[in-house]
């Protein structure tokens, strides 16, 4: 919040020289509709926008996935050309990782972190808006490559020198580079913002060991982003200078070593894998205790195993390079490091099971998806152990076994966790529950479709089918399981669409029933976000919640009676904050974040197509930067006082 304190108590009617930097310019004031969404700095709206944007990109990535599966349904298929297929699988991976899984994690983090630590917003609300918009514009820019010469065709890890201009002369990889550089800026500013929020804006009494597991896991995630993104940035800057300006970083004839790209990419790429899964781990760590009506088993172990995964995640990158020729000594070291990362991951899974042990389970949709994560991720984790052993990996890497593995981790793991979280927090964000019956159909469709799609890919990989093949021959014997996988993928596609279907039906029913109040605490939950009304009031908390223990909210509801038996002494509704925002002061919306974010992709198009475009981009950027720098975080015309000055946020 405020950095530079400047109390400015203005007596009524006194004319004071208020800084109004751009003269006639006025900032958005209590806007409604579209302008509200474009200029908002409210972490909850930004979280919802992250989720919506991710859903939009999910459709693109999902259509790409189905095209891939149609192409591979039969041998020697002519459905897609090799060129189209290569673009589609590259963009499928890129879009799903950078524009779906990461932003969904950001959506939950944005919406929930301030609520779970008892804060009114994130530390830097305008930077938060900027983080979203630059992610969104970067993602859009990346996807305009479909229409501007073709998408990237180097695979999502885009190995040098195949990513060079000589081997991929279309601008697709330039879009990939610059689009992801832009998205990366958003991740970086977002991580600084969220880390600061968690570390510095916790409610009174909430020490780090009283922070909910979701917040902890997201904190680790943001640290991974903070330290991993710059390495990707360097790799992409090197590649961009090679492709656009003729530098030689990956020019083998000049003596360059192509493995440099792999090292840089995977130093980023492996933490990336963990930062995609950890938020989902956090989500199920909230969902399972709530519906098992037990505290999470071994909270300190959950926290420290998350931290351990984060640390170890930076020390195992070369397991992606076991067959790249890094020498047996490195291979041995990275094999051992990778094997032992299974330990903290295993601890998490066993702790979830221990939380289920002896619990009173309510098997509703969020709980089902959470349990699905535990089991499906275990499959992905086990196949991960099998190729952490470098000798195995020489047979398994770059085959469909790997494709199956990371889909079990990212879809069966991260994505199922996200769906669990969506069902769980939906009433908090929108004021009504998603339909549980449709939810269960949704659940079974997805679990069946998912396992039919990716289960057979384990077999295909072990039977020797390499990944990234636009076709295969009849005689290679991959027909059956590819057909099964394609069949499953359509069930999975229907399952994924049921998210939208359920949201629409549930909303209609809720509206038809005259919008009944779902209450602040519909699930009898444990953390602070349930101690406020649903949907969350704009100001979050009427008063700073004082926290005395882990799961503070739950312990206010349940206490021991004179016999030492745990009883419900209050319902959540009774002790929740009433949502009276009087006297609460909120940061005002601003045009500058979206404007600054908009200028940067123009710069990117300039780099790719015509350097002159950089001129208007830089002008726009400077205007936005100075506008931002000179604009106080709060609207002086509305408020009788202001105590927030974000003058240096742009620095």
């Amino acid at each position: 919040m405020a950095i530079i304190e400047e109390p400015l108590a203005l007596p009524e009617g006194t004319s004071t020289k208020v800084e109004r930097p751009l003269g006639a310019y006025t900032r958005p004031r209590n806007p409604a509709g579209l302008v509200n969404w474009l200029t908002t700095v409210d972490h909850k709206k930004i979280g919802i926008m992250y989720g919506t944007a991710a859903l939009f990109f999910l459709v693109i990535g999902g259509v790409a996935a189905l095209l891939i599966r149609i192409q591979l349904a039969v041998p020697d298929s002519q459905f897609l050309s090799a060129d189209a297929y290569n673009q589609i699988f590259t963009m499928h991976g890129t879009v799903m990782i950078f524009l779906v899984v990461m932003p969904v994690g950001a959506a939950f983090a944005n919406y929930l972190l301030p609520l779970q630590v008892g804060a009114r917003d994130v530390a830097f609300p305008r930077i938060n808006a900027f983080s979203f918009w630059i992610f969104f514009f970067g993602g859009l820019m990346l996807n305009t490559s479909w229409f501007l010469g073709g998408g990237a065709d180097g695979g999502w890890f885009n190995y040098a020198p195949n990513n060079g201009i000589a081997y991929s002369p279309t601008p697709g990889i330039d879009f990939w580079n610059i689009g992801l550089l832009i998205v990366g800026i958003g991740s970086l500013t977002g991580s600084v913002n969220l880390i600061t929020t968690v570390l510095n804006m916790r409610a009174p009494g909430m020490s780090m060991m009283k922070v909910p597991v979701f917040t902890w896991m997201t904190l680790v995630t943001q640290f991974l982003l903070l330290l991993a993104i710059p390495v990707l940035t360097v790799a992409q800057v090197l590649l961009s200078t090679d492709r656009l300006f003729g530098a030689n970083f990956f020019n083998v004839e000049q003596g360059a070593d192509p493995l440099l790209w792999q090292h840089l990419f995977w130093i980023f790429g492996h933490p990336e894998v963990y930062l995609m899964i950890l938020p989902a781990f956090g989500i199920v760590s909230e969902v399972i205790p709530t519906f098992a009506r037990k505290p999470i088993f071994g909270y300190p172990f959950m926290v420290f195993s998350g931290i351990a995964i984060g640390f170890m995640g930076f020390g195992v990158w070369a397991h992606h390079m076991f067959v790249a020729g890094i020498g047996p000594l490195s291979v041995t070291a990275f094999t051992l490091a990778t094997m032992f990362i299974a330990v903290p991951t295993g601890v998490k899974i066993l702790n979830w099971l221990a939380t289920l042990w002896g619990g009173r389970l309510t098997l509703n949709t969020p709980m089902l998806f959470a349990i699905a994560l535990v089991t499906q991720f275990t499959i992905g984790g086990l196949s991960g152990v099998s190729h952490s052993l470098a000798a195995h990996d020489t047979q398994q890497t770059d085959t469909y076994y790997i494709v199956a593995h990371f889909h079990y981790v990212l879809f069966g793991g991260a994505f199922f966790g996200f769906v669990a979280g969506m069902y769980f927090w939906w009433p908090k964000a929108f004021g009504y529950k998603l339909n549980d019956k449709i939810g269960k159909v949704h659940f079974w469709t997805m679990v069946v479709g998912f396992n039919l799609t990716f289960g057979p890919q384990h077999i295909l990989g072990l039977q020797g089918m390499p990944r990234r093949m636009h076709t295969y021959a009849d005689a290679q014997g991959f027909n059956l399981w590819n057909a099964v996988s394609t069949f499953g993928s359509f069930i999975l596609g229907i399952g994924t669409l049921m998210v939208l279907f359920n949201a629409a039906v549930s909303y209609r029913n809720w509206r038809a029933a005259a919008r009944p109040d779902v209450g602040p605490d519909p699930w009898d939950s444990r953390s602070l976000e349930w101690s406020i009304q649903s949907p969350t009031p704009e100001h979050n908390f009427d008063v700073d919640p004082v926290v005395t223990q882990l799961d503070d909210f739950w312990h206010r509801k349940y206490q021991k009676d004179e016999n030492g038996t745990l009883r419900q002494v209050h319902t959540g509704d009774e002790i929740a904050q009433p949502g009276n925002g009087e006297g609460v002061h909120l940061p005002a919306p601003s045009y500058w974040p979206i404007m600054l974010a908009f200028s940067i992709p123009i710069l990117g198009y300039g780099l790719i197509f015509n350097l002159w475009l950089i001129v208007p981009a830089v002008i726009l950027m400077l205007v936005a930067l100075y506008g931002w720098a000179l604009e106080p975080a709060d609207d002086l015309d509305i408020d009788d006082h202001h105590d927030h000055d974000h003058e240096l946020e742009t620095v």
């Binding site: 950095i3 003596g255 101690s531 009427d542 929740a576």
Partner: protein, 239 residues
């Protein structure tokens, strides 16, 4: 909102309203932060942590590229040796390094100037805390010293270019200009921030209440200096 609470208009004993701290002063005065460190300062430290990885990756790239370049020169790769004047290549091959390229005394002098700017930055912060009106002098001095360093770098780049080291010619050129150029861009960004502060100082808006602003720019500036010490050692001093 709830019936019980509405009836007697008193918060339930366990509710958050009942246990809230009276933080009225807090809302107008100082802001409580969990770590006792301002958000902005924490954010700056986090950003600098991220920058460490950025420069770490760039320095690694430089080291690898230089080593590969020297290896190719020594091996006599005609595609590499044809990118630079023959006599320079000869010197590289004999010394098995790129050291003949450098003018160590010149770069040492400009490095010293940049280091001195850290001193003036500290003085600028001190002057702002003390509110003695001297901060404009020290901030200007810092920006000036930084600009001299940049001018030195521009001169050096020009000299290297004339000697035959181009950005696109070979691996060493690409790596050298990218690493030092990235650092130069960081210094330039710092100079822009300093100039903004100088402007504020001359308008009398940089008083002790904004000492933290100066401190934040100072943190960034010192970081950029430290990175240069590393780059200078690695690029210029270690053969």
């Amino acid at each position: 909102m709830t019936d019980v609470a509405a009836l007697d208009n008193r918060p339930v004993a366990n509710s958050y309203l009942a246990t809230a701290l009276d933080d009225h002063d807090d809302a107008h005065g100082g802001h409580r932060t969990s770590l006792g460190l301002s958000n902005m300062k924490l954010a700056m430290w986090l950003f600098l942590g991220s920058e460490c990885l950025l420069f770490g990756a760039l320095i690694s790239t430089y080291l690898l590229s230089k080593a590969r370049f020297v290896t190719e020169v020594v091996a006599g790769n005609p595609l590499v040796t044809s990118t630079m004047p023959a006599e320079l290549i000869q010197e590289f091959a004999e010394s098995q390094s790129v050291e003949p390229m450098y003018d160590i005394p010149f770069t040492s002098a400009s490095s010293f100037i940049l280091l001195m700017s850290s001193l003036t930055m500290v003085l600028a912060h001190k002057a702002t805390v003390e509110d003695n009106g001297q901060n404009k002098i020290w901030l200007s001095a810092t920006a000036l010293l930084g600009s001299i360093f940049i001018a030195g770098q521009v001169y050096e780049f020009t000299a290297f270019y004339r000697e035959g080291l181009t950005y696109t010619g070979n691996l060493f050129g690409s790596a050298f200009y990218t690493l030092t150029g990235f650092h130069g861009a960081h210094v330039t960004g710092g100079i822009l921030m300093l100039l903004s502060l100088v402007y504020m100082a001359f308008r009398g808006k940089l008083r002790s209440d904004r000492a933290e602003t100066v401190e934040l720019v100072g943190l960034y500036w010192h970081f950029v200096d430290i990175v240069w010490v590393l780059i200078f050692t690695i690029v210029y001093l270690i053969p």
